[in-house]
Symmetry: C2
Subunit: 205 residues, 2 copies
């Protein structure tokens, strides 16, 4: 199983973290964004988006971090419905998918774009991104005030999809201080057996 | 089954279209954005995002269009794995989910935001949105040049998730003329038994 990877990418980190938590062996192939290795014809043939992560496992190539999370969760224990990171039950799948969409839309356009603007000097609208980020963080804080995990009362890929850009948001100029319930959720994730960090995570106290 | 609905919303239309294609009976409850009915405490208790659509079916409340698509597909025929709009197979689920993420991120931040800016005079950055939209439409055009459907060689919820804001992008100031493969895909969707239109769809030739 090979992951085309950028160390600073929160989306790639989702896959490294999930693999570590599942005990899956994943070979990381670093991609240089400076050399535009994600825009070569060979790379675009794997991923029309021209982005990392990409996962290749035998004949299967997947080009979206949330799709890869589902695939990895199923690879480990797709015969069991309990204590799984995904689920065989359609209503459970819908519950988890709410947070995958939330991650792809609000967490991306808000938290990830704010970080890209501040940390990597990308030419985005920081005020617009931070406004989306604050709204997203408020939703998380309220939900985590009376839930230990985002979905199904257990750790699922919903948590793995949302955690990185929530935890990294301080690199986008947003303080984590007003979000105590979210920070307690960070601590629960960081205490999971097999947890691995990335640069910027765990977030400083 | 009750859908909290806004007629002009592409995300709500995904649910109306899927319900019609599946032959499911769905009662639409119109929500007035002008009266901020999506920001009342009662509505926010159903959906922390404060957005439409929301689906309520007996004890189940779902607040994301893609989560609702999975739920509806499973409600109709979650015992069968073939000719289904979703799948019981985890690799198939990952394939479809790639396009759900693509819809939540690129189609939203590009096509939907461009439309909201032009058609509904929302204060977003039209140039930035159109740039994301053009990149997304290029990905769709290339993929649909040698695929009839987005995933699994059959109509799935991937198509239903992406079609509305692709078809409506002309309302965001982007011509559909350069995308013949995409327009043929529109025609295939619009020929599916049970297809229902919305204002702006099918797109004018």
């Amino acid at each position: 199983m090979k992951l085309y990877d950028v160390a600073d990418s929160g989306n790639c980190y989702k896959i490294r973290l999930m693999s570590a938590l599942l005990g899956l062996d994943c070979q990381c192939q670093p991609i240089s964004l400076e050399k535009a290795e994600h825009k070569t014809p060979e790379f675009l043939a794997m991923n029309p988006r021209g982005q990392v992560p990409v996962l290749v496992d035998d004949a299967i190539t997947l080009w979206d971090s949330h799709a890869i999370l589902i695939y990895l969760a199923g690879k480990k224990d797709n015969k069991t419905d309990t204590k799984s990171w995904w689920s065989n039950d359609i209503t459970d799948q819908a519950d988890i998918t709410q947070w995958l969409s939330f991650s792809a839309r609000e967490m991306w356009a808000g938290c990830a774009v704010a970080r890209a603007t501040v940390k990597f000097k990308r030419p985005f609208d920081l005020n617009a991104a931070q406004k989306i980020a604050y709204a997203a963080l408020d939703i998380l804080e309220r939900h985590l005030s009376d839930h230990e995990w985002l979905a199904l009362d257990r750790p699922t890929i919903a948590d793995i999809a949302v955690y990185p850009y929530a935890g990294l948001v301080w690199e986008g100029g947003i303080s984590l201080a007003p979000y105590p319930a979210m920070r307690r959720w960070f601590n629960r994730i960081e205490a999971l057996p097999g947890y691995v960090p990335m640069s910027g995570l765990p977030a400083p106290e």
